[in-house]
Amino acid sequence: MALKGNLRDFSVTQLFNLINLAKKTGTLTIERSSEVARVNFREGKLAYAQLSSEDNSLPAILQRSKKISHNQYQVIQSRAANMTDKELGLLLINAGYITQADILNSLQQYLISVVRRLFTWVDGFFHFDASLPPPDDRIPIRIDLENLIIEGSRQIREWEQLQEEIPSLEMSLKFADRPDANMRKLNLSVEEWRVVKFINPKNTIKQIAEATKMNDLEIRRVVFSLLQAGVVELTRPTDMPVVGIINRITTPQEREAQVSLVNRLINRIRVA
């Protein structure tokens, strides 16, 4: 039976758990908006993972883990463009640039970082193809899934809590009305500063997320920390239509009628 669906109904953690328990071999492909992730498994263990949006060649991975410099990366890219990762890895080891352990550790760190990012995906179509093996030109490794699944489960709980705190991204943010607050003294992270730049009742949280290229989880995390610190408050977007009865009052006569109505309700409840 085809293993396919949407992450809204079956999370990445649940998928990993299933693949781990069934000791599956194959490739899990997840697609969302403009990004595609491919995660390869061998007998229920993580073998490889890549995101379409970033360079996942061996030189790029080694440079990210600071095993080679930017200059070395550029030289390798230009001179060894036609080599597979396996060939290139052997060449670098034989030339004494790096060790086998360096390559395996860097790959492991990278694959885990890809999976951690996948845990933040809460929407996207997935399908698992048991006939698709890990790419031939890459260096496959074997990583047990159990610890990653535990980490993913924690993230799901965090996601649920953040959804309770910030139920809708259609709300806006405004700076809290605290005369004693001094923004300069705040020790904000880079992500928080990026969001702070866009705080204005005209911008919904969703629009801020788009402008800062954050996904739902990332923007909720930042907004939650700003809310907790008392820096911002949730507010209605300025252009949202209003539906309450009071907001429909347009003339003094209507207002008088509504005031009379509320007074009648008050008198009735007093004697209830």
């Binding site: 309770e164 309450g244 009865i245 009071i246 907001n247 009052i249 007074n263 409840i269």
Partner: protein
Amino acid sequence: MQNVKIVVTGPFNAGKTEFIRSISEIEVVSTERKISTGEEMRLKETTTVAMDFGRISVDDDLVLYLFGTPGQKRFDFMWEILSEGMLGFIVLIDSTRPETYREARGILQTFKIYAPTPYVLAANKQDCEDAWSVEDIRLALRLDPKIKLLPCVATNKESVKNVLLELLYEILGEMEKSSE
């Protein structure tokens, strides 16, 4: 005949059905069903799956309806429908279950989005030994001092009356502000 609506909302088991039952002049039209999940079953046997519905006739021309929303998150699609055209809303909080405070905050934010009408919060079950004090709940919910958070015992009619009256005073205040 004019009908007006006040919505009573809050997390699961906060006491919404009881609140409406205490003040309604008719037997509350309740759509309660046996609870199916284990966690919820430990707290009570039945829950509201669509809405509770109570009525207070003011005179021949005016009737106040009280609508209670289902508490669980999976019924949140109902909230938008219920909040349409309401006079105001009450968020009921179970003072004895701090694990539901975050959800109560989320419900408050959701209703504020659906309908920018006046509201008050009521800290229910204040007669229980393990109830948090109103002041502590205010801090836990990070409520602005201007927002009314009232002590409440939903089984006590006078207490329910007090919460409804405070909401109506809030509505009057908003009307005065909107005319300025």
